[in-house]
Symmetry: C2
């Protein structure tokens, strides 16, 4: 592999620069408006040189898709670590996820809305997304075990319902008031209420472990 060679290092730095610039461009002209020429222009090279790093425009999108999901997953997991296991961890993780989405809107649009004609993410780029779904499911299971939610929460349906609530909040905020902050947003600020609705849909039975 020789991953650590100076040449490899430099190459990876360039790739990172390309990705950063691409995100900037999407923020300015819209996700679907991303062009390789504009990226090259800002990087100070000629468009053909980009093809040494990405074989096509759609390949760049694939990498951006993967990058976005990876960042999203990282923030989600950091959020989970920042609170008590079980329901608090899940709530904290989802908050972190929402903050990431508002702070990285072009990537969030790419991940959640698929606005690029002809682009279908590769299985590889999709992997972090699946990992997150599994995380959510596991955390729901934790919450059930701790008697914080009814067993129905840790099912396909529970995961789907939760995803509807979270993406609904974010979609409305991103589409209607993208410049409001996560905390002040007219939709995202409803997070606690929305999450309470989820909890109330799967109310825990009392004293499940006899350890209260």
């Amino acid at each position: 592999m020789a991953v650590g060679s100076r040449r490899e290092l430099r190459r990876n730095q360039t790739i990172d620069e390309i990705l950063t610039i691409a995100v900037d461009v999407m923020a300015e002209v819209g996700v679907a408006g991303l062009s390789l020429s504009e990226v090259a222009r800002r990087l100070g090279i000629r468009p053909p040189s980009l093809y040494k790093y990405f074989p096509s425009r759609l390949a760049l999108f694939d990498r951006l898709f993967q990058l976005g999901h990876q960042q999203h997953l990282n923030d989600f997991r950091a959020g989970a670590e920042a609170a008590e296991p079980g329901l608090p961890a899940l709530l904290s993780a989802l908050q972190a996820s929402g903050r990431w989405a508002m702070a990285n809107q072009p990537l969030a649009q790419l991940l959640f809305w698929r606005p690029v004609p002809g682009f279908e993410p590769s299985a590889e780029a999709f992997a972090p997304s699946q990992a997150m779904v599994e995380d959510v499911r596991r955390m729901l299971g934790d919450a059930v075990e701790r008697g914080q939610l009814a067993p129905g929460a840790a099912t396909e349906e529970g995961v789907a319902v939760l995803s509807v609530l979270v993406t609904g909040m974010l979609s409305q905020q991103l589409a209607n008031a993208p410049r409001e902050s996560f905390d002040q947003g007219r939709f995202t600020r409803l997070g606690p209420q929305i999450f309470a609705m989820f909890r109330d849909r799967y109310p825990p039975t009392e004293d499940p472990h006899g350890d209260s």
Copy 2:
């Protein structure tokens, strides 16, 4: 105005054709991929001729935006008429709204996600959307009056929460499984559960009118 002249009539027919074709094109190449040239090609005229009907590409999008919201509102209201006033009417209307979105995905994306770089809908094109929000609010008020929901439902918050639930369901379905039907969709089929969550968030007090 002379709205009924034969010339006006023919012109409006052509405009309708253009809009229909534009929707077809968006369905094939993505909303942001719509081009005037392709529309002209399918209509059997040259691109410059289109400018007699729409002064620019963005003007076409504006008209499509308005058309979509108008259709959506029509279906929503027809749904409302098809059930008892109050909560049933609202549920029926929202179901009709969801069906319209799944059956008109390119327009739905244009309305709900704003995927076209540089396009901001005009106030005029936005009017039907505001009308629908007012309808929802009025119907929530009806439901409260009838003792089917708590008063909190007919507030800014109630409208926002409901919009989060509905658009969340549709966003997830459109982005992740656009070819599933409204009734079978892994997300849209959760409609009754989701709606029940809304109702349970604003539970009615008992016997509000003494007429039970």
